[in-house]
């Protein structure tokens, strides 16, 4: 037996305003979404800079070099790493790979430079479509890393022939 008395009008809530607001919220979150392609190390605390600009989005290939900070007092140091140094990694599209030191960084960058035809290591036999690719080295260096290690990394990046370098910082 139906609960509604005979002749009663069907009551339907007005869904239009609800739909309007839901679509507004969807638009808001869609615009705020940021699908970053880089797998960043969350332990790297970036330094702050008020003059930092938005990252260049025209870069098609990003080589991410991350330098984690040294172990803090009381923290156990990683025995596989040199004393006073944190973990170094490089990501070339297949996930972060650990780096033992500047020499290994240079070797890996050299391979990428040859692949994409960068600097004096450009390979004339590289495919034409790869030669026109805009490649940049992204440096994410923890704020507690010493200048000595930062300089080692910058020197190797420069030696490998990369001119497009982005030093990342938190925009204040």
């Amino acid at each position: 037996m139906s609960g509604a008395p005979p002749g009663a009008e069907k009551c339907e809530p007005n869904l239009t305003p609800l739909l309007d607001l839901v679509l507004q919220l969807v638009m808001f979150f869609m615009l705020c979404a940021n699908f970053d392609q880089l797998q960043k190390n969350k332990k790297v605390v970036l330094p702050k800079a008020s003059q930092a600009t938005a990252p260049d989005r025209t870069i098609s290939v990003q080589l991410l070099v991350e330098l984690a900070g040294p172990p803090k007092p009381g923290e156990s140091a990683d025995p596989s790493l040199p004393a006073g140094r944190g973990k170094w990694t490089i990501s070339t599209g297949s996930g972060p790979q650990p780096l033992q030191g500047p020499t290994e960084l240079f070797q890996k960058l050299q391979v990428e430079a040859k692949t994409y035809g960068v600097g004096k290591f450009a390979d004339p036999n590289a495919p034409a479509n790869k030669r026109k690719t805009k490649v940049a080295v992204i440096l994410r260096i923890d704020e507690n890393v010493s200048f000595k290690h930062m300089n080692e990394v910058m020197t190797e990046v420069s030696r490998a022939g990369f001119e497009e370098v982005q030093m990342r910082a938190i925009k204040e």
Binding site: V26, S50, E163
Partner: protein
């Protein structure tokens, strides 16, 4: 028949759109974006010029370079920030002096953590003004973009380095290079 036609004309039926499925999909989309939304600090990039291979600081030379490697050199050594100028056409770097004729120095901690950034920007702007003034006296093809070089000791932290690079940018320098402290350089006052 005429009455039936008039009834159809007087009572048009509104098309009914089923909004429920659309609302369901909108909720699905919203749930997805809410779950993937992660507010965090905005990451930006800082303009920096890499040291080119083989570059060293401008040391006194019998054959002065045609283009100076920097317009201003800022060194952070042992808690003291000193400044040196290298103007186009000048054979040697010269210390940057204040109105009293004495070399300008800023005193800070050995790590540079409490450096007076406002005073630093003031001095850097003066260096920029000197570089721009020196450029005006040269023919257009001999003019150079003002460059700033910082020299640091090995144990200075990246946080301080980035802060100084930031202040250099605030002073108007677009070409800034951090370099290791060169022990051979005896200039700068």
């Amino acid at each position: 028949m005429l009455r039936r036609r008039r009834r159809m004309k007087d009572n048009p039926t509104d098309p009914e759109l089923p909004i429920t499925p659309m609302l369901d999909m909108s909720f699905q989309l919203m749930a997805f974006f809410i779950l993937t939304f992660k507010p965090g600090p905005t990451e930006g990039q800082l303009a920096m010029t890499l040291p080119s291979e083989g570059t060293s600081i401008a040391a006194p030379s019998l054959n002065p370079p045609t283009e100076p490697k920097y317009s201003g050199l800022v060194r952070l050594v042992g808690g003291v920030v000193d400044f040196t100028l290298m103007m186009p056409g000048e054979p040697r770097p010269i210390p940057f002096t204040g109105p009293d004729g004495k070399p300008v120095k800023l005193v800070t901690s050995t790590t540079g953590s409490n450096i007076n950034t406002d005073q630093l920007v003031v001095e850097l702007k003066k260096i920029m003004a000197r570089a721009v003034e020196a450029n005006k006296s040269l023919p257009p093809d001999a003019q150079t973009i003002p460059k700033l070089e910082f020299q640091f000791e090995d144990d200075v932290k990246v946080a301080i380095i980035v802060r100084l690079l930031d202040e250099a940018r605030r002073a108007g320098f677009n070409k800034v290079t951090p370099m290791p402290l060169a022990n051979a350089w005896k200039g700068g006052g």
